[in-house]
Amino acid sequence: MIDFQSPQNIKLFADFLFCDKDYLRAIDEYEKYLTMVDDDSVGFKIAIGYFNMNDQYNAYQKLSLTKESSPFYEQSKIEMLKSLYLQNIDSSFYSSADILINSESIYSKNAFRLKNTSLLLRKNELPEKNIFLIPFYNDEEHTISNFYDLKKNPPYKSEIWAGVLSTIIPGSGKIYTENYGDGITAFILTGLFGYLAYTNFKHDHQTRAWIFTAVGAGFYLGNIYGSVASAQIFNAKVNFDFDEGVKFYLEEKNYFTPVYDFCK
């Protein structure tokens, strides 16, 4: 007769659910197991389960219960730091990062890397490049250096220059901000109504001429306005692409935390 409620069988079932990525049920089974047996590795797995479900708060709460004597104590510290970063609790994140960096933990360099990379996404002033790149390994330095350069000198377009260009040649400001189709259209429309106004004035059709002048002026002024706006939107796109690039890189690197495989 199999005892399904024995601690060993509960843990076996929980491990199966965990490896099957059914983290919610796995956590329930692990919690049931922990009421019978005191096991740090299971507590750590519960935290990893919460991470995988994107529940950073509960992951943090579980990790904070890890005892200093536990073999998972060092890992729990770096994982807690990761959780603070993902919860966007900046003040706690940076203070915890500094504590971990200045400790003798084997993950102090990981914390340093995560802290420095997170600075790229904040509006804070960045440190000098050589200081910024200290914690990164050779294979990471090139990518982080590129991010650093982009943060310091983003490829923005000047709103004033876009407006000036469109004032001189209608549509050129939009071409400057890489809206080629809109720029050509603005040039054609302004040119067309300008020409219509001119020919109607030349042939003494005053009413029509003034109507075309008014519409042409509207398109001309709208093109200048639109060029300035498109420069702003271009700059917003640059910021968005940069932030997404850094976030994707962090995700790829698993936020500089170890990767665990409990299912081997």
């Binding site: 050509i184 093109n223 200048i224 968005f240």
Partner: protein, 153 residues
Amino acid sequence: MIINNKYLFLLLVISQCTIYSQTDWVRWEKSDPMYQTNNTYLEREYDLSIESTSDIIIKPVVNTYWFFISDVDGDNCPFNPSCSSFFAQSINETNLFQGTFMFFDRFTRDTNIFGRQEDYPRFGIYHFYDPVSLYTLDEKKINYIPAKTYVKE
């Protein structure tokens, strides 16, 4: 007389129940289902309230255009909000002059048929998302959404 009134009352009550009861003919009648989905896009916000000086001219013009031309012509603008709605919203958010410049710029972008897929997020199946907040020249209001992203209605 009293007895007759009682019977009359009873007859009236019973007839009330039977008048609305389902008959075989009602049950087996051919139904006429409406397969057309509700197009919320075409639900115009007709509004003639005067909240500023520019509303005196703009709102009657825009509402007249919607009623006599746009709603009859159909859903032709590739953008959401449509150009007329964009005009009304831009004047609401800024002022008459800035709103007019925004409208002329929008009309230019509407006339451009090249490269829209690469420049605008999608709103529903048939429209591109192009809100007023991107063009007020206030950087804080710009909520950039990448091209080809589907924005929910």
